[in-house]
């Protein structure tokens, strides 16, 4: 992991990094894949340079694991936590044994907490000060959390003549994890009216051709998908037919052998296929010293190694959200079933899988007498979005 150099930043990202103020809250909004987490780390590095102590919080444990490792590699002085851990720890600093009010277990009652702050019922309010808080996945936090932060940063007994604690929030309301306990951009702004708002809309994760294919499958609101930059080159995704699963997997091994400084993910439709693939690819990979690991949503995030080169991660489609790889292989297309009724569902699934790939994407199938049903759902050769090598 390294921070991007200038030419790797979009104009909007550069606007944010060069101009977003430090003396008032900042909100950066953008759809998935627009580089918000990278900007969060970059902002953290700037704040470090400025001499501020930085806390970076997020909702998902998986993202937290990813970010922790990046912070380590970048040798940054940033505390990375899940939001639960940060909120309960902050409250503990100011209130000792007096517990943070809760609506239910591990769900803070921020309105009650705000009432206590305003009523000056904190035991050690000055201990609840922080230098700068960066919130990633800000849409996944309850809206009252932002009111809580605003109230804290305006309490004289907390600030004690220092600069008000800083806040930078990154959010995308299209990615809300739950229907209720989350925040819209409008709600965040309503609780932090003085926040400076920035937008990032250009696709940062995927190469041009992959972004183009992803948008082919996208069926949500237009605000939920990043803009595909014009004239962006890259390898066109391809679809290939092989005689056997072993040959399909050999193509994965070959690709990683030729690009052994990059990461590879194989996305599979179910655990049965996952087990089958692992049993075959292990032997192929071992021959040239490649490592294979499997990931599913139940897997402990700490046991997954996203960073070592020459590693193939085999992941079920349901668990691939939030992951990204340089090369993504989607084999065994014949195992994906679709009919007219669930077309949108299938497309969204495809969108999520396709958008995991940074620079290389290959669909494939084998061992089937008829062409897989899902081929009809893919762009035609004439559309020139995908290269048909069958």
């Amino acid at each position: 992991m390294r921070l991007p150099r200038r030419s790797e930043l979009s104009d909007q990202q550069e606007d944010f990094l060069m101009e977003a103020p430090f003396d008032r809250p900042v909100l950066c909004v953008g759809p998935p894949g627009t580089g918000k987490t990278v900007l969060a780390l970059y902002r953290g590095a700037l704040l470090n340079k400025k001499g501020d102590s930085v806390d970076l919080i997020m909702h998902s444990k998986l993202l937290n694991r990813y970010v922790e490792r990046s912070i380590e590699e970048l040798d940054m002085d940033i505390g990375s936590k899940t939001w639960h851990s940060w909120v309960y720890s902050l409250w503990g600093k100011g209130n000792g044994r007096s517990k943070l009010p809760e609506l239910e277990q591990f769900l803070p009652d921020f309105m009650k907490a705000v009432g206590m702050v305003i009523a000056e019922k904190l035991v050690k309010p000055e201990s609840m000060y922080w230098d700068h808080l960066i919130v990633d996945e800000g849409q996944d936090f309850p809206k009252e959390f932002y009111l809580f932060l605003t109230v804290l940063r305006k309490q004289e007994k907390i600030v004690l003549g220092r600069l008000p604690p800083g806040i930078t929030i990154f959010a995308d309301e299209n990615q809300r994890m739950e229907e209720t306990r989350n925040s819209t951009i409008r709600e965040i702004l309503s609780y932090m009216p003085e926040a400076a708002k920035y937008e990032v809309t250009a696709n940062y994760r995927n190469s041009g051709p992959i972004a183009k294919l992803a948008s082919f499958f996208y069926v949500g609101m237009s605000t939920g998908i990043p803009d595909t930059p014009k004239n962006v080159h890259g390898l066109m995704p391809q679809i290939r037919r092989f005689d056997s699963l072993k040959e399909e997997l050999q193509s994965v091994v070959n690709w990683l052998h030729n690009n052994d400084d990059l990461s590879v993910g194989i996305i599979v439709p179910n655990r049965k296929v996952q087990t089958n693939i692992i049993s075959i690819i292990n032997a192929l990979a071992a021959k040239i010293g490649l490592k294979v690991q499997k990931y599913s949503s139940g897997t402990d995030a700490n046991t997954i190694d996203f960073y070592t080169n020459r590693t193939i991660t085999v992941v079920c489609d349901k668990s691939c959200k939030g992951l990204e790889f340089d090369g993504v292989f989607i084999p065994q297309l014949q195992c994906y079933k679709t009919d007219g009724a669930n077309e949108d569902f299938f497309k969204m699934k495809m969108y999520v899988m396709v958008s995991r790939a940074r620079s290389y994407l290959q669909f494939s199938y084998s061992e089937c007498s008829e062409k897989p049903q899902v081929l009809k759902m893919l762009p035609t050769p004439e559309q020139e979005i995908i290269k048909w090598r069958i």
């Binding site: 200038r6 030419s7 340079k49 004239n231 400084d261």
Partner: protein
Amino acid sequence: MENIIDVNGLQFSHSNDRCCYFITSQRNLMSFLGAGMIVPASSQFRYKEDSRQCFEGAIPFWKGGIPALKESGGGFDKKRMVVVEYYIDDIKRYADNFIVADNTSLMIVNAPIPLLNVVTVYLDSDDEITDFVMRLPSDVIVDPKFFKVLPNLRIIEEEALGETKKVEDIALKVSFIDSFGGGLRALNQLTSLSLENVSYISDLFLVCLENFGYKALCSPLSYRLGCKTEITASAKCIIHRLFPILQGIKIEEGYDQFYILERLEASLKEEGNLSSEVAEWLVYVKRVLDTDIEVPILSDDGDLFKRAILLFLLRPNLSRLKGSVNSSISPGPIVLSIATFFAGYTDGLCRLETEYKGYYEEFNKFTKSLIGSLWNLSEVTMNISGLPPSDTSLSLVYELNQQALLQVPVQKIIILERVLELAKSVGCELSYNNDMQELLYRFNLEGERHQIVYIEMMNLQGGGLDVIKLVSPCLNLSGSKLKALTKNVAVDFLKRNSSDSMLCSFAFNDKRQAIVAQSLQVVNILSGDDFMILLKHVAVIADEYERDILGKDYF
């Protein structure tokens, strides 16, 4: 002239008649710092409107002050305004024939101006300086000592421009300087590559310069290098087509190997230059990129330039190339360094990573020399000079039009220099064969016999040992003479190798197409006396074979 900046409330009084001032913004300043030069708008990476907007992109330098400007235009933000101060004479020197207009208050310039000549860069306040410097990405290198708070500069009167020249589009010329500079800076990493042979570098530079239309020559006074690595005709043909493609790439827009390859093929076909050899090579490269076949190990063998192009296509940027050393490709140092030049050329100076730029002053001295050697010239003479060797290194300095641009350490020559000194310490003068990069000594032996011994360098395999090979030929096997190496003859050599009195061994030497007596020695632990004993031993063993078996004195 349009007014472009609202400076209401500022009182201008600071004045320096020898200086001139260019008004821009922090974001444009980032680009100048990244490239080491101020350039016209059309040549700039990520141009944001500034005072150049009013002059077709050419750079306006106001003399002795800045104009009293009322109307805010071009999206200028006073807080983020930047005023760059130069000496008028410096600008004139670089602008030369590229001054678009010049009157008593304003000089408009359409040329790249080195940042090294900047007197001061003024920003709005101390807070702005601190904030700007802190926010810069790492690849934008800066020396804060050039920044000062904008003083009350003298207000100068606006004046009619008078006669103006047409603003020529110089973007392509500036872009070449940027690209070539990127390639040169990327080669700065050669220090870690332990190169034994750098003869290819001069050829690479000449091809690159010729390709852009310069009449490029190597000075006859240049340090003579062994010509081990010449560009083959087919590689030259490919490289000629490759450079313009790479120059046109904007890395922020992404690019892929097939895109380069397709354009290369199209370009070769267009010229009618697609020989069957090159066509076969294109098919092979496509298959490797398509992972239809495994990527080969790209060691320093065969056509090094074609191998370097393949390596570049497989690892098309500097950070991936750097990582390729420990990959399955395992490129040789020469192949890697040529590919590194391609990657640096593609990036250009402006987009290059910090590690290749180095420190502010050194980087800006380099860009100044680069501009001095290439801007507004049609001929380039390259001269290579060798710096006096120190105990640990010998460096070659590459100059273009008398501007030193690259210093390359040559590892193995250092070893030979040491051997030369070692022999000299015991009164023996070895001869140096520059072309072959080897030493040699002619022994006069008993019975008026003669024997030549060569001292060759070995490929370094780490461990910090400098290893040489003492080689003395005794049986010529070139051409049809190879038939003389029958089974019995070979077995006889092997038997001789097992003799207790042998401190060396017989071997077939490919380079000399001969059976030789040879001995490997570690220079680091060798005394002068021991060296001479071993050198003579190798000579005597080879000569004895000639005398006893062949009955002649060939070598």
